[in-house]
Symmetry: C2
Subunit: 277 residues, 2 copies
């Protein structure tokens, strides 16, 4: 055994590997090859790291036994973290400079900022912790960064539904759907090879109004024999009486804008812990 690799080095390098690759399984053999130490020692190291994270509620290290076994790290948000993200988001989104004529809010700075995305994604992943999924599905354009942030934590690919078929994406399936709020007819398009049949997917988007898009995605996924196991958005309106999807996760409830007095109404969403669609 190489005595030159100290315990400090081992802890730093194992922690780095796990944190840099969330939801990716590493075998003891992997660490043993990398650090030239006995698996028993490395197993103890991993237990110490696990205990440190637990103590501070900073995510979990899971062990999988058996031939395909190993350990992986899943960042999970504590309840107090989620509440702080919701409050901070409400404050940030209530800035009056965000008001766009027509009752819209400028949100690009949040939806395109990696550190905000990371926090929001962590809340979404934590909510759907017990669900298993194969893909994170989104619809172009503004939901893509959030979908990728979620997918990175879960180590799953994203799938992007487009508004029209592209020459460069091969054979596509297309479906028309009716938007919930304005009853417009729009199109969803996706390459047939972008998703394996029988998959479970999480739909992630920036904003939900009546839920027409989300319902469209649920229907569209059926054409791919895929099941939507969750719907997550950063913000949803609570002005529309009933959503077209029964269950979803949202960080913020948007209650509208008083454009005359420049007041934006929103509150943290109160999500039930039952997420079955």
């Amino acid at each position: 055994m190489n005595k030159k690799i100290s315990k400090t080095e081992r802890i730093a390098l194992i922690t780095k590997t796990l944190i840099e690759n969330p939801s990716q399984i590493f075998t003891l053999n992997y660490f043993s090859d990398m650090l030239d130490h006995a698996k028993s020692t490395l197993s103890e190291d991993i237990k110490s790291i696990e205990a440190s994270f637990e103590k501070y509620h900073l995510g979990k290290i899971y062990s999988i036994s058996g031939a395909a076994g190993g350990v992986y790290y899943l960042p999970l948000a504590h309840k107090t973290f989620v509440e702080k993200v919701q409050t901070d988001l409400c404050n940030k989104l209530s800035e009056t400079s965000r008001i766009i004529p027509g009752g819209y809010l400028y949100m690009n700075d949040i939806l395109y900022d990696p550190s905000w995305l990371e926090k929001i994604a962590l809340c979404i992943v934590s909510y759907y912790e017990s669900a298993s999924m194969d893909y994170v599905v989104t619809i172009e354009t503004k939901g893509i960064p959030l979908a990728l942030a979620v997918a990175r934590i879960l180590n799953k690919p994203i799938v992007v539904i487009r508004k029209s078929a592209r020459l460069t994406e091969g054979t596509t399936l297309q479906m028309n759907y009716v938007t919930g709020s304005k009853q417009n007819i729009k199109t969803m398009s996706m390459p047939i090879k972008s998703i394996k049949r029988g998959s479970k997917v999480l739909f992630v988007d920036d904003f939900m109004k009546a839920g027409g898009t989300a319902k469209g995605v649920v229907d569209f996924m059926k054409e791919f024999e895929a099941q939507v196991v969750g719907v997550a958005v950063m913000m949803s309106t609570i002005t529309t009486e009933e959503k077209l999807v029964q269950s979803y996760y949202s960080l913020i409830d948007f209650k509208g804008i008083d454009e005359k007095n420049k007041i934006i109404h929103m509150i943290p969403s109160n999500n039930k812990s039952d997420f079955t669609l």
Copy 2:
């Protein structure tokens, strides 16, 4: 001082914090508050972590002195890592099942996979290590995930140029440009508040042919008084004689498809280390 927090715990938690937030500066006070230890001890801990990463060529921990000082982690790819990513990408992209009629290649599975994106982004960040930038700019749709992966490592926001103005994004600036390969006229649109004047930006996209889009972005950024300090793509063609941008970074050179014999020609790009535009 709290004796309960062992060195192992400190190393694990400091490593976790730095790795989980690349390019984000943390002060010694931050760690001192978090771990309830003297700054001198924590400074030693950080030096040990830094040494471990250096030894294995696994990125760098930088120290910034002064009032706004602290430490941050920047993942950097070693030359051998970059070469392996290039070779792996060539092999992956040479699968004949990717051929789409018209000389196109299906690449969504790579462009939408977090672990591929992370590796490609690491190569891009490492190439432009000495450049400083305020934003990562891309154009919808397929380049967005790669742009976000780069932006996450740099801890900078992304900016997405759209093909037409949106109601929900406020006042936009629009510009027409000519695509290099087919001489079509297209439009770029971006909210005026999406970028601070005087900024430096890195343009990231999935694919470059003649470079008409990249040149368009360079011109469009001038309207925002912003300077493009780098252009990075996953793949560029080498069939077109001269690119419309002088300098760019590419991982793969695409030489075309022999559709009859189902052979895809591509090689790792040979990038000069001089990246000035």
